[in-house]
């Protein structure tokens, strides 16, 4: 198969109405459209790591004594709260953002 790559790619050589492409990264992260936020009860958390395992966007961050969430990335799906065997995670409504 023929490859038509160029060493120095210049997107401006392509007509801007031809095909839907993007060459600039979008700053949007899953957290931008979250409506529920996970809230962790540190007294209940036994650090089993199931939330870390199940999170589809891998936003669970390990801390010395519990797990925390990177809220820029968390999309609020609630899978962690559903799977937590100790009911240590509650999903609370986002407000005032």
């Amino acid at each position: 198969m023929q490859r038509q790559s160029r060493d120095h790619f210049d997107a401006s050589t392509i007509p801007d109405d031809l095909a839907p492409i993007a060459t600039v990264l979008s700053g949007m992260l899953p957290g931008d459209w979250r409506s529920l936020r996970p809230l962790i009860d540190r007294l209940k958390c036994v650090k089993c790591g199931l939330c870390w395992l199940y999170c589809p966007v891998q936003c669970v961050v390990e801390k010395p004594r519990w797990f925390e969430f990177d809220l820029a990335v968390c999309k609020g799906c609630g899978i962690c709260a559903q799977e937590c065997p100790h009911r240590a995670i509650a999903m609370v409504e986002e407000a005032g953002r």
Binding site: R6, D17, I21
Partner: protein, 413 residues
């Protein structure tokens, strides 16, 4: 044909003719265009096209990868990846297969991927049938693919090769459906002239499928990011791409004519690119036809002329983009028109080609008597006798009588 090519052909021992069915002619055309990847799922009446291609690849006559897939949806999705990686592609389908392909099929023109796909046209279910008709192609007439309908087996071969040149033209960059009638053309066996591989290579040039949108680490880009909606730059981005797509379609009218002209110069066979006017000189009324039915219709027109009647014929080859100007010019020459469809526009109670012919008449500034004929559904034959009846009814068509009801040609067969 140039003198040089004629001499080099005389010097070679290669067979220059073949006797084959329409599906094999399409496969031969594909082979001459040297695609990188072929993915086809068999479906009646297209199946022998796949078999011919598989055999060509197995015999080493075509150096292409044959992608074995589980269905038509995977065919089109896989080929999008091939085109985005820079490869020339081919597939073929019809009827229910096209219906299963629909989701990635409608996405292809928006991505401006210059694919070529044969539609071996077939009527749609239900009632259950496995035979030819043009309902499948007419259902997708506004999916954004270019549609060219062939009249003969030779035209299938030639148009299949031309389709790559049209699709990959930088002013077009749209996928092309080469439509040929299931059963009548797919299995109709005739003698065809074979172009030389070297001539086709020179005329066609190397593939140019992903210079504008690509899966390529050296040209990092997001392919088909989210646009549209009601906020930010979404609406204007979406409209810009849609307008570009429409312009590509309109450019195709010019490019299709140019490509047919250079094909005729190089290979000595001229086909009408958009609309063919047949015996319109002195014609008072004309039939409008599309596809393989045109042969019998031309015979019927000849017989009418022999009787001293002022009949003519307008054949549509390119239906998408719609050749508005060429149709308006042809229709301007007659006083009554009868349009023969091999499919149905359910909401309008007439044929789709009839419906669009009325649109062209408006652009020609004419409100003339027009009749919608529907025939050849699900493999039915439209014979010279059927066309003679259509000609007689068109001749008698009166102003203001324009079709509350279509005339069903095979109703009593």
């Amino acid at each position: 044909m140039t003198t040089a090519t004629r001499e080099s052909r005389l010097a070679s021992n290669k067979p220059r003719f073949a006797v084959c069915e329409g599906n094999e002619a399409a496969a031969i055309g594909v082979g001459l265009a040297r695609p990188d990847v072929v993915a086809v799922y068999p479906i009646t009446p297209q199946s022998s096209l796949v078999e011919h291609l598989s055999q060509m690849i197995a015999d080493g006559r075509l150096q292409a990868d044959l992608m074995n897939v589980e269905g038509e949806h995977a065919v089109m999705s896989g080929l999008q990846g091939v085109a985005l990686a820079g490869g020339r592609t081919f597939t073929a389908t019809c009827g229910p297969g096209l219906a299963f392909m629909f989701e990635p099929y409608v996405r292809t023109p928006g991505l401006r991927l210059p694919m070529v796909a044969s539609l071996v046209t077939r009527d749609l279910l239900s009632p259950q049938c496995v035979w030819g008709g043009q309902q499948d192609a007419m259902v997708v007439r506004d999916a954004g693919w270019i549609q060219m309908y062939c009249e003969t087996v030779q035209e299938i071969l030639d148009t299949t090769i031309m389709a790559y040149k049209i699709a990959e033209h930088r002013d077009v960059m749209l996928p092309v459906n080469v439509c040929h009638d299931g059963n009548y053309l797919s299995f109709g066996v005739t003698r065809v002239e074979l172009p030389d591989q070297q001539d086709v290579d020179e005329w066609l040039g190397p593939p140019a499928t992903n210079w504008h949108i690509a899966l390529d680490p050296l040209r990092p880009m997001g392919v088909d990011p989210l646009t549209g909606g009601a906020g930010g730059a979404g609406p204007r981005n979406f409209v810009r791409y849609r307008k570009g797509q429409c312009r590509g379609m309109q450019n195709a009218l010019r490019v299709i004519a140019e490509v047919h002209a250079t094909w005729g110069e190089r290979f000595g066979r001229a086909h009408a690119p958009l609309v063919e006017e047949y015996r319109l000189d002195g014609a008072e009324y004309a039939l409008v036809t599309i596809g393989s039915m045109t042969g019998a219709a031309k015979d019927a027109v000849d017989l009418a002329r022999d009787r001293g009647e002022a009949a003519g014929l307008i054949k549509i080859k390119t239906f998408r983009p719609f050749p508005l100007r060429a149709m308006a010019e042809a229709l301007a020459k007659v006083k009554r028109v009868g349009v023969v469809d091999r499919s149905v526009s359910f909401g309008w109670n007439c044929g789709p080609v009839y419906q669009e012919t009325l649109g062209a008449l408006y652009h020609a500034g004419k409100a003339i008597p027009a009749v919608s004929f529907i025939g050849g559904l699900a493999g039915a034959d439209i014979t010279v006798e059927h066309f003679a009846r259509a000609i007689a009814l068109t001749r008698e068509a009166k102003a203001g009588a324009a079709a509350d009801e279509p005339v069903w040609l095979n109703e009593n067969d």
